[in-house]
Symmetry: C2
Subunit: 212 residues, 2 copies
């Protein structure tokens, strides 16, 4: 993607993910163009890209609106992510290299070290390490298609789902133990175990909708 279009894309995307542009908001091309400092053309390209990402809806002659996801949609998304990443982990058990195991073990240690972290920076670092952990495994599946499918699924929920909270459900020690199980399954090249434990890991740690 080219300079201006890329700039427009990340600018709009960030504003959506941060919640600045709420679901349902109409995104006027000329306004965005003026604000970002480019012409309408790259803004239009950016909106098409965001549509492909599933972050906006576009209707004929009515432009783009920030897409809104129902609780049900988000449940589906987490379930599908768990299902697909389970599959990826099964593949990874076959194709993983020793260097992958090494990298995963280092990440596991780092995450365990941050076990009782509370500060925002530390929590952000924890999240980053966790993403890296999952990325290594999906990459090890050696399925390009799966990688693209999952990257589309995984990116969004992280931010769109600010509405959801883990509200105490997230047990970090349990999560760390599951990481160790995943590593062990991959180490032993046990596809079924790997799949089951990854699926369980993702399902058990998923955030639930507020029960208001």
């Amino acid at each position: 993607m080219s300079k201006a279009a890329q700039r427009a894309y990340t600018a709009i995307r960030d504003s959506i993910l941060s919640g600045e542009y709420e679901p349902g908001t109409h995104l006027t091309e000329s306004d965005l163009a003026k604000f970002i400092g480019v012409s309408r053309t790259p803004v239009h390209d950016a909106l098409l890209h965001l549509k492909a990402d599933g972050l906006v809806d576009m209707q004929r002659n009515q432009g783009a609106r920030v897409k809104s996801y129902s609780d049900r949609d988000i449940d589906e998304l987490y379930e599908l992510r768990a299902y697909l990443e389970g599959y990826g982990t099964e593949m990874a058990a076959t194709y993983r290299k020793d260097s992958d195991i090494e990298a995963l073990e280092n990440l596991a240690i780092e995450m365990e070290t941050l076990g009782d972290a509370e500060s925002t920076e530390e929590l952000y670092e924890l999240s980053r390490l966790n993403s890296e952990f999952h990325k290594i495994i999906v990459d090890a599946s050696e399925s390009e298609l799966l990688k693209t499918l999952l990257s589309n699924l995984v990116e969004m929920p992280l931010e769109v789902l600010k509405k959801r909270t883990w509200s105490g459900r997230l047990n970090r020690q349990r999560s760390n133990e599951q990481h160790r199980d995943i590593i062990e399954a991959l180490k032993q090249r046990d596809p079924k175990w790997a799949r089951a434990v990854m699926y369980g890991h993702l399902i058990s740690n998923r955030p639930l909708p507020e029960a208001d």
Copy 2:
């Protein structure tokens, strides 16, 4: 999508799927625009759409090329389709309505009637009925996300994979019996059976690469 852009999209898409534009071919915007009879703008939009579909690759300042898929890529695609549609069928076993069963049974009968068809039209009709069969089931899963994921996966292979042949592997009677099994599993609302038989159906009937 708007008139001109839609026209450009279908025109280019058809040319790719029919094989007229071979993998690797560079798609020049101005040439396409002149040929289709619109300006470059809707052609550019169409190319972005096709990129999202996975039918073309785009590199910065180098425009679009028809994407080429390796045998390995296509294997992955079939495997993932089977895996996801298995999941969808599992869901469908829970959410299916009686009218779905009825529609599936009617389609099964029609396909069985065309059992020993040979003519091109009849084979095309058979393919259409089969697509309809699978669509009803995925729709019955009531997962919007799954529907969009699968529609992106399923559309392409049908045509891109002209290179592949079933070369006698496709046993129509077996396929029809599997259809009956799928219907029965859905009728009895047996999710695991439904998933297993759909997965087996898709895997056993998938075309394999030429063993040249």
